[in-house]
């Protein structure tokens, strides 16, 4: 029974040559997914919110609800 001699050298190099491109590609995919899935929508949500944000109106609403300590509610 004559078996082939197993590979004795270059094992790490072989593993790296296989796994490093995959790791690199997967990291790029992860970064792209985060950019387009998380940070993109988040920036958009903030932009949309502040597009129609009426500062004075919100302030008066909060004031009437009584959450401020330095501003009295209207009508006091």
């Amino acid at each position: 029974m004559s078996l082939a001699k197993p590979a004795m050298r270059g094992l790490l190099g072989k593993r790296l040559r296989f796994h490093l491109p995959i790791a690199f590609a997967l990291s790029l995919v992860a970064a792209a997914a985060f950019k387009y899935g998380v940070t993109g929508p988040r920036k958009q949500a903030y932009a949309d919110f502040y597009k129609q944000y009426d500062t004075t109106k919100e302030f008066n609403n909060m004031r009437d609800a009584g959450v401020f300590e330095s501003v009295r509610t209207t009508g006091e």
Binding site: R42, A45, Y46, F49, E58, N61, M62, A65, G66, V67
Partner: protein, 177 residues
């Protein structure tokens, strides 16, 4: 009942000795030694069945009878002259378990899982008892009314109005989105 004759005591002792030999050290039972001991003499070459260290310091059977000795003599010649049974017999002289025998699965996992669940149960009982007898009364801030007032105040303060808490509240219709 404790008055055993010396003969009976001797019989008991030898039985226990045999049990100790076969039970505690399977690796010792093929070794020719005369004293009854549970501890291994570490100054002598040892036998072991280990997956990670395949070749022990000594063969399994040290004490060879005449058939074994003649087989060992035949081993010194060309191995093509050995039959299959003889090769297997030589293997069994040298080793106790084969690799598949060493790797055989056991029922230990049932004991482990069972023990785990027993301790989970005991812990559960302890926790329940603790909740009943040890804990002080809950703070008043945990009550339904207080929680409702708290949520209302958070909405009034516009907590996280863009992506978080207040973003889920419809201020026009006074309800959750």
């Amino acid at each position: 009942m404790l008055h055993l004759t010396t003969g009976r005591v001797g019989c008991l002792l030898s039985k226990q000795a045999v049990v100790a030999l076969t039970g505690s050290g399977a690796r010792m039972s093929s070794h020719g030694h005369h004293e009854v001991s549970d501890s291994v003499d570490m100054s002598q070459p040892m036998y072991w069945d280990r997956l990670d260290t395949p070749l022990p310091d000594r063969p399994w059977k040290d004490v060879l009878d005449s058939t074994d000795k003649s087989l060992k003599q035949k081993e010194k010649g060309p191995w093509t002259a050995l039959s299959k049974e003889e090769k297997i017999a030589l293997y069994r002289l040298k080793f106790n378990h084969t690799y598949p025998e060493m790797k055989r699965p056991s029922h230990e996992w049932k004991t482990v899982i069972g023990g785990m669940f027993i301790f989970f149960g005991i812990t559960g009982l302890v926790v329940f008892w603790q909740g009943h007898y040890v804990y002080p009364p809950q703070p008043h801030t945990f009550g339904e009314e207080w929680q409702a007032k708290q949520i209302q105040r958070m909405l009034d303060m516009r907590i996280n109005p863009i992506e978080g808490f207040s973003a889920q509240w419809d201020y026009k219709n006074k309800q959750w989105k």
